[in-house]
């Protein structure tokens, strides 16, 4: 028996670098695509922005009042001119995330109305200190790749909450940021604040550590506020996420395919306008495809359809050769409990398997109404677990371990074999919260649940993690920008 094959020729070998997973067949994907083109040609979208309407008219769209119908050539051109992906850098100008192909990154979400106080457990409106604490915790977590504000703060002049939140983020993390401005004026200030960090707008454009997003109003409406921000971001060549957030059965058809059609029609019509402003400007399609629970009339962030639609949406975006902004790691539960764990795990698993490029809203409770750092920490652990699952089984001469098997032979043990010592860290995933100790040790440690451990970890990180400080010059400049606001 030849145990080691070495460099022998292996014809027609297929290697899975990850698990393989698809929701849609090629034919189903094509059907959705043609339906989307049909909606944009026949139904059109409402565009409440003169500048966008002028661009569309000039490019060949059919304009009727505020309605714009887009011929497929216009849509297909935008798909061609948009780049296939973009990179986000960290605050220090180091390249961190590459949103393209099946690369999958996770981050929290923005703008919740409530947050859970990490010390009292009280559900209350967020304060600026919460944004700072959240950024510090996220800075420390291994599987949180980008930062968002995690709640709209109420203890600052609320007209500028978005700006004060950004200040708190910039001072507490070096990780890439995805943010949003209330309007294009605030987006301008956001750019000034970030340019203060990089030393100028050109440097920020060259190595962006910031992406901005805006949402259409489902069904099929682009508001002037959203389009102002889209245009502003494209003009400034800053990465932009064009988000549609339907609720199946309420603002979009109850059928998942119909909701995908509406979502993509909004995303692609936004993409058309974006690319008409600046061809080649970096952009991602985005979806928060929720379903309406007919018993409560709530937008569910934890239902199975939520994950299915996001996975299908990812496949559609990748079919277009564009990155996708998706949603996972969230729950309809009001607490970091069993329901939260089930829903977050399922959605994170589906995102990772489908290769959603930017996965946000990790750490959300109550269908997106409330943020929780304990939930975020628990999801950080779930993401680690899922990443290991998604990597699959590596099969090569080393992992087949034929030398080790020969060395140990029948009736032996592998614990002391060098192969185990050399490869256990890459083969076996190690949790940081999940408990694998014997029962006596668990009892002696206080019989803590995973939720208890997550809450304790949050407090430990808030108190002990020290992020790299923002340079004094940038800090002062940002203070000056904010103090100059009316």
């Amino acid at each position: 028996m030849k145990l080691k094959r070495g460099d022998d020729l292996k014809s027609n070998q297929v290697v899975n670098r990850s698990l393989q997973f698809r929701v849609l067949s090629d034919s189903q994907r094509d059907e959705i695509h043609y339906a989307v083109l049909g909606v944009l040609e026949d139904v059109g979208v409402v565009v409440k922005c003169e500048r966008a309407m002028e661009l569309l008219k000039k490019a060949g769209a059919y304009i009727d009042g505020e309605n714009a119908k887009m011929p497929r050539a216009l849509v297909e051109k935008a798909i061609r001119t948009a780049p296939s992906g973009f990179a986000l850098y960290d605050r220090n100008g180091e390249r961190r995330l590459l949103f393209e192909d099946g690369n999958c990154y996770f981050g929290p979400g923005p703008s919740t109305t409530y947050t859970i106080d990490p010390y009292s457990g009280e559900r209350r409106h967020p304060k600026k200190a919460d944004t700072a604490n959240a950024a510090r915790v996220m800075d420390a977590l291994e599987n949180i790749d980008f930062i968002m504000d995690f709640g709209t703060v109420q203890d600052v002049p609320t007209r500028y909450s978005d700006l004060y939140q950004l200040q708190a983020i910039l001072e507490n993390t070096t990780k890439p940021i995805v943010h949003w401005g209330f309007d294009s004026q605030n987006c301008q200030v956001i750019l000034e604040m970030c340019s203060a960090v990089t030393g100028g707008l050109e440097e920020l454009q060259k190595r962006p550590f910031l992406a901005l997003f805006a949402c259409s109003n489902t069904p099929l409406l682009h508001t002037v506020e959203a389009l102002d921000k889209l245009i502003f971001t494209a003009e400034n060549n800053i990465p932009f996420v064009c988000v549609s957030a339907p609720a199946a059965g309420a603002t979009s058809p109850v059928s998942l395919a119909g909701t995908l059609v509406i979502t993509l029609a909004e995303c692609l019509s936004g993409l058309v306008i974006h690319q008409l402003v600046r061809e080649g400007a970096p952009v991602a399609l985005g979806g928060v495809t929720a379903a309406t629970d007919m018993q409560t009339m709530a937008m569910s962030y934890g239902c199975p359809e939520f994950s299915l639609m996001h996975a299908a949406l990812t496949e559609m975006a990748h079919f277009y050769g564009l990155p996708l902004w998706g949603t996972a790691g969230c729950t309809d539960s009001k607490a970091v409990d069993q329901q939260a764990a089930v829903e977050a795990t399922a959605s994170i698993m589906m995102s990772a398997m489908s290769g959603t490029n930017m996965v946000h809203d990790v750490g959300y409770l109550e269908g997106g109404n409330c943020s929780s750092l304990a939930m975020l920490v628990m999801c950080d652990e779930i993401i680690g677990y899922v990443k290991r699952l998604a990597r699959g089984v590596q099969v090569d001469d080393v992992t087949l371990a034929l030398d080790a098997i020969k060395r140990v032979g029948p009736m032996g043990e592998f614990v002391t074999d060098p192969h185990t010592y050399e490869h256990f860290k890459s083969e076996i995933w190690f949790p940081s919260l999940m408990d694998r100790h014997p029962c006596q040790r668990w009892l002696a440690d206080g019989s803590l649940t995973m939720g208890d451990q997550a809450a304790a970890r949050v407090r430990e990180l808030i108190e002990n993690h020290r992020p790299e400080p923002l340079e004094e010059k940038a800090k002062n400049e940002i203070d000056k920008i904010l103090s100059g606001l009316a």
Binding site: A290, Q295, M297, G368, N369
Partner: protein
């Protein structure tokens, strides 16, 4: 239970349950006068704006639809969240 004579069973759904905590999830309303969906909503003290639509015996009906003896109606609130 409100004591009148046309007997209607009303299911209160969605955020109406939180907004009108004095109402139970399933109310029985009796009236000695003809009653429309709008009239019923008024009887219950619910703001008409908070009822997105009504479902009468499993069909969506306009709010001026007259109710009949022993019918069952669902009052559905606007969707919320996200």
């Amino acid at each position: 239970m409100i004591n009148m004579s046309l007997k209607v069973t009303v299911n209160i759904t969605g955020c109406l349950k939180e907004l009108y905590p004095h109402l139970s999830e399933r109310e029985v309303v009796e009236s000695d006068q003809p009653l429309s969906v709008s009239g019923l909503i008024g009887e219950l003290g619910i703001s008409p704006r908070m009822v997105l639509f009504a479902v009468l015996n499993e069909r969506i009906v306009p709010k001026d639809r007259q109710l009949f003896e022993d019918c069952e109606i669902n009052l559905v609130s606007p969707p919320a969240g996200g």
